[in-house]
């Protein structure tokens, strides 16, 4: 028996990807080339490698005993790495003896007109993949048990639906920051395109969440700390003191009645008032009261007023420890603040509002009980305007490039509601493009124009001026007539953008989720993994991921619940073996890697005086590997030798052949 490792025998398969690759890269030439790369035992090309026939091709060669490692040159590994690994697994080969060379995204698509260049790049990629696979080592996926409980962060419509879907099978902890669940939807009056009353849909669901035996509802609570052990996340939640014992409080409201302190109600965007002892709105869940410590003057009038003695000024914040198998983040969105767009006069002119404020004015449970009034004189406006795309579709710093997707529809909705209440009024919507793309949406828009007589004026408003009586002059340019105009309205509503939460980076740090360029949480794959984060077991849904309306948010909630279920269902989870390892004999104990790990996976072993990496928490990002001054850290599947072998493969062909 020879001590030398047997020479790897690599099979290379080049995929045409229909015409995506084959139209640019000559299949025969690259196959012929691949045959001459050191260690390659055979090379073939095929129309669709990912098809059953393509997979069979690989399986046959593996079974024949002629080859023991596989390279597929095709699309991105994000797309099909798992497909091909399965083929190896099923044929009793270690699945890590596989590499995928991405010659579609990296070579053919980006060089449609330069076939020669594309070929050169493709050859390099194949050569590198062969070098890497020749140096790959067999790896084994570890399995860990998964806790059969879930955590949902944020109890808007998304969080509530995800919770309800999972609660039939698992215990679910639902953490909500504010004193009530419901999120933005609870603030809406009616919802497009069906115009059903928002409360009528939301309230029963809120009640269900509040009552469900499998749901542990933690409102007025914040995430305090998270330990990212995949499958067994340890989460600390701070349940803030409400100074009222919720086990006793009946929600009778006696405390609120005697409380002498009135402050603006955040739920009504500060247009209405509440007491320091309060519920944000009558249908809030939980229905029990909260004393807002910031504004309470401790007069304790409420203590006497409460007949069941629920008020407890000694109540303290409570820290609750949870252990969960999966997490769904549904923290929703913030709303763009347009006060820096000076020409629109928000917060300078009294009668310029933002749409969510209008939503509260229209709401029968709002501060005016559904009567729309002008802040300047509390009279009902006769002419109102909506300005679209405020803070959206704008490439300036401080605004957002994307389309917020809901504002065209909510503006039409509010315009129609206003017209229903005040048929004699006049309504103008100033838009760039009306984006009414959903099911039933275009019809909704058509009726708004035809039956309601809402005026649609194309073109962004340039400037707004305020008259002495509070009415507003709007100056713009009708782009369809190519005429400048000035219109007088009594009230202007800015359809402001949906934007990422201001504290999104804190949430992202807790849960190790990434951002997209627009500030929203990033999905693992825009098409194939829309609700997965890049951290296994952690999912994202609703408007924390991108602007969307309620139908889409609920669809995502259900998708995330099903993904979380899938993740926990088998009771165990496989961990990718890409984690990094400290070689204790080399580690100098300098600790420089510890604070760098974004996933908090490195600890220090005081007995051996070396760093130690928790394989389950490690995501294999490689930061520690690169940072270690002693070169003591190696990362599975991306060892120094493996990476350098790829780099060496980039040498000119002759030298490379000679050396191998």
């Amino acid at each position: 028996m020879s001590l030398e490792r047997p020479k790897p025998r690599v099979a290379v398969y080049i995929c045409h990807c229909g015409k995506n690759i084959a139209d640019v890269i000559d299949m025969d030439e690259i196959t012929e080339y691949a045959k001459h790369i050191p260690n390659v035992a055979l090379a073939k090309n095929y129309k669709f490698m990912c098809s059953n026939a393509g997979q069979d091709l690989i399986a046959e060669d593996l079974k024949s005993g002629k080859v023991d490692r596989v390279v597929v040159a095709a699309c991105s590994p994000l797309m099909h790495e798992e497909t091909y690994r399965r083929v190896l697994r099923e044929n009793n080969f270690n699945e890590f003896f596989f590499e995928q060379a991405n010659i579609r995204e990296h070579a053919s698509w980006v060089n449609l007109r330069d076939h020669k260049g594309a070929m050169e790049i493709a050859k390099d990629h194949v050569k590198m993949a062969v070098a890497k696979v020749s140096n790959d080592r067999p790896l084994i996926r570890q399995k860990v048990e998964v806790t059969q409980e879930a955590l949902i962060v944020g109890a808007g419509i998304t969080g509530m639906f995800a919770t309800l879907d999972l609660a039939n099978k698992y215990k679910v902890h639902l953490v909500e920051r504010t004193p009530t669940i419901g999120g933005h939807m609870a603030q809406l009056d009616k919802t497009f395109p069906t115009m059903d009353c928002s409360a009528c849909i939301t309230t029963p669901k809120m009640v269900e969440v509040g009552r469900h035996p499998n749901i542990n509802l933690l409102t007025y609570s914040e995430i305090e700390n998270v330990d990212l052990n995949v499958g067994n996340f340890e989460v600390q939640v701070r349940k803030k003191s409400r100074r009222i014992n919720h086990l006793i409080c009946t929600g009778c409201g006696a405390c609120g009645e005697v409380c002498p302190i009135t402050v603006p109600n955040e739920f009504d965007y500060n247009m209405g008032y509440r007491r320091a002892a309060y519920v944000p709105f009558p249908q809030a869940i939980p229905a029990q009261y909260t004393i807002d410590i910031k504004n309470c003057i401790e007069c304790k009038l409420c203590v006497d007023a409460c007949e069941v003695n629920a008020i407890d000024f000694n109540q303290e914040d409570e820290i609750i420890d949870l252990k969960v198998g999966s997490i769904i983040i549904a923290t929703g969105n913030d709303i763009f603040d347009p006060s820096k767009l000076y020409r629109y006069g928000y917060q300078k002119y009294k009668n310029v509002l933002i749409a969510i404020e209008m939503e509260r004015l229209l709401s029968s449970t709002g501060p005016t009980l559904g009567k729309v009034i002008k802040p300047s004189d509390h009279k009902t406006p006769k002419r109102i305007g909506f300005l679209q795309c405020v803070g959206s579709r704008d490439f300036h710093e401080g605004t957002h490039k994307y389309c917020s997707r809901v504002c065209c529809m909510y503006a039409i909705k509010q315009a129609r509601q206003f017209k229903e209440k005040y048929p004699d009024s006049e309504v103008f919507i100033f838009y760039i493009d009306m984006r009414t793309f959903g099911k039933g949406y275009e019809e909704f828009y058509e009726i708004a124009a035809r039956e309601y007589g809402i005026n649609f004026i194309r073109g962004r408003i340039g400037e707004v001026f305020e008259n002495n009586d509070g009415s507003l002059i709007i100056r713009g340019s009708d782009t369809l007539l190519a005429e400048k105009y000035e219109i007088e309205v009594d009230m202007l509503i800015l359809s402001t953008a949906i934007e990422a939460r201001k504290d999104a980076d804190e949430v992202s740090r807790f849960f190790g989720v990434q951002f997209s360029e627009d500030g929203f949480f990033m999905e693992a794959h825009p098409k194939l993994k829309p609700v997965d984060s890049l951290s296994p077991g952690i999912f994202i849904a609703g408007t924390c991921q991108a602007p969307r309306d309620i139908p889409d948010a609920v669809a995502q909630a259900k998708a995330a619940a099903s993904s979380a279920d899938n993740f926990m269902f088998s009771g165990e989870v496989e961990i990718e073996p890409y984690y990094s390892m400290v070689q204790p004999e080399i580690c100098s104990g300098c600790r420089s890697c510890i604070p760098l790990c974004p996933y908090d996976a490195i600890s220090f072993d005081e007995t051996t005086n070396t760093a130690d990496i928790n394989a389950i928490k490690c995501k294999g990002c490689g930061v520690c590997v690169a940072s270690c001054p002693s070169n003591a850290i190696i990362q599975n599947h991306f060892t120094r030798n493996q990476i350098l072998s790829e780099v060496r493969a980039l040498k000119p062909w002759e030298n490379y052949i000679k050396e191998n």
Partner: protein, 175 residues
Amino acid sequence: MPQDQKLLKYSSEYSDELSLDDELKKIRSCIQCGMCSAVCPSGSFTALVTRKIMRKALAGDHSVLSGPEIWYCSTCFNCYERCPRTIPVTNVILRLRNMAVREGYLPDNLKSVIKNLANTGHAVPLGGPDSKWAKLRELHKLKKVPPTVHSFPEALDELFTLLDKIKFNARIPYR
């Protein structure tokens, strides 16, 4: 005689030329939102519709250069600041004016100012040491002739040399 067809023929001639400059290239991303024309003060008084200028330039409509509209802009930079695609609209207009001048569409009233500059160094010259403006300077206890090119013949020579060097007269005859 058959009437000339009034149909627009699209051409990317102007937008291609503008796109040689990385900033001006942004004009290709115009969404015709109308912000530029909405904030344009000139548009309130003149036939200038800035948005339409952008569209005509993109469509390759010759009237964008031959018409007077581009000359109605007072270069206030409102449109430049507010375009949601951050197109430097004012600079696009200035470039279109350059292109218009190249094709011979220079408004008459500008010609005398150009002559002033090219011949005296000032677009608004004093008019000599005996002019009323020189006298006014004197009344203000200032030197009769300001210490500009007006007081330094060698500076005027320098100006002439530089104008020759850039062959200004060949483009815009001023002599």
